[in-house]
Symmetry: none
Subunit: 140 residues, 4 copies
């Protein structure tokens, strides 16, 4: 059998709150999504004024990160010298290859993912890391 | 121009918390979605153990309620003696005709909607009403 | 070769204006879509306050009417005693089986369709007929 | 609560008429879409002879412009030296990074967007600007 560990609602809410608090402090307006270990949406918040397109991108970043257990910002280095991948990833629904999606990794393994969208991806990454730190998850 | 009023992140979080607290007290596990006045997702929570199919249903209930400003449980009475509608609504994406979706109506008008899924729809409705009451919205 | 006749932009605009004027006079708020003879969107208007779900339904009614050259309200009588169809049409994307979609038929044949959504389908039908009449198309 | 201002049907129609008149004068055939402040379609026209692929592109340009409040032609400069974005945007549904989509910005803020497609994007931009000018919106 396979034993799976998934992020619970309380952890998800704390991660969102911390990411949103960081964003507020930095003057940013973000969409923040938490997925569980299977990539399904666990919790979500669209901060007031966050751009609409970020609604889906935040969810897709969390989905991408959960689906491979890898941060989304790692994808570009992985594919940049591999033209079929570099030009092919655009056709894969929900795969995001820029920063802002991170797996939520704890001692038991990967229990979910966080995805943030609303600023430049480096800002998205900072917000997501604040969310990870708040729940004791590994911060890359 | 058209002036619109939308639910803010703080209200959305309070509605979800209250709906989830009610569900916990009743031994239920729900997905709870808040949409804004245009039907876009504003906040979401999947309580631990809530069924996966409810992920989308909760969001669709909120969407349906926001799209017409009507509670989803009102649809069946409206269409039950109107065969073309009764048999035709199945082809409309995201339209939910059983209970658990309510518009969020305040003095300024309809500012969003709440959708709850995870139990029988009468239980979903009770949880949603707890969410509405917590933010001072009209409870049908 | 196949010769096709399609509604032009001017006719489409006149049909929308007439349908909208009728709706305004009746205190209704509608989404009004015109498709060409191939089912592609030709023109569209969401009247102020028209429900969001009607955005897609109006377009789908016009699409359905153009795709078969039949008014959408004719579908139910056609399928009501044929259970596989009656219960199967719900799975067909964009097929609407209640009123509000009409083909635009002139001497040259079917040149497009109009779809209206926002009220009960009988109201939608009245608005659509006003649009048809304004451009000299056949009114069923 | 969040207060939002949306473009109304009359403004939308005037913007389309002006963009279409400009296109006619320039010998162009365009699809012209107006979205409201939340990105939903408000009005649309496919001029006679406008290419079919432009149907969706025009709507997506308006959607993209409304979703961030930015003109679509600004995206390429923003991402051209940022390879993860340059190669990553292809996976984002409805995001258009070439010209022809503009937010509709008035004193009250961003109330919607216009998207034009049918010529080279520089021609699309000229038509869209004619639409913006006709309703007193900011022209970049």
């Amino acid at each position: 059998m396979i034993i799976k560990y998934g992020i619970d609602a309380s952890m998800a809410a704390r991660a969102i709150d911390a990411a949103a608090a960081y964003a507020t402090g930095a003057g940013l307006r973000m969409c923040i999504a938490i997925a569980d270990e299977s990539g399904d949406l666990k919790a979500f918040l669209r901060m007031d004024g966050a751009p609409k397109l970020s609604l889906q991108i935040a969810q897709d970043k969390a989905f991408t990160a959960a689906c491979f257990g890898l941060a989304t910002h790692g994808w570009y280095d992985f594919i940049k010298n591999d033209p079929p991948l570099l030009h092919g990833v655009g056709s894969i629904p929900r795969l995001v290859i820029f920063g802002g999606g991170f797996p939520v990794v704890v001692d038991e393994g990967m229990i979910g993912a966080i995805g943030v969208s609303g600023g430049h991806y480096t800002q998205d990454m900072d917000c997501a890391r604040a969310g990870l730190a708040a729940i004791g998850a590994r911060v890359e």
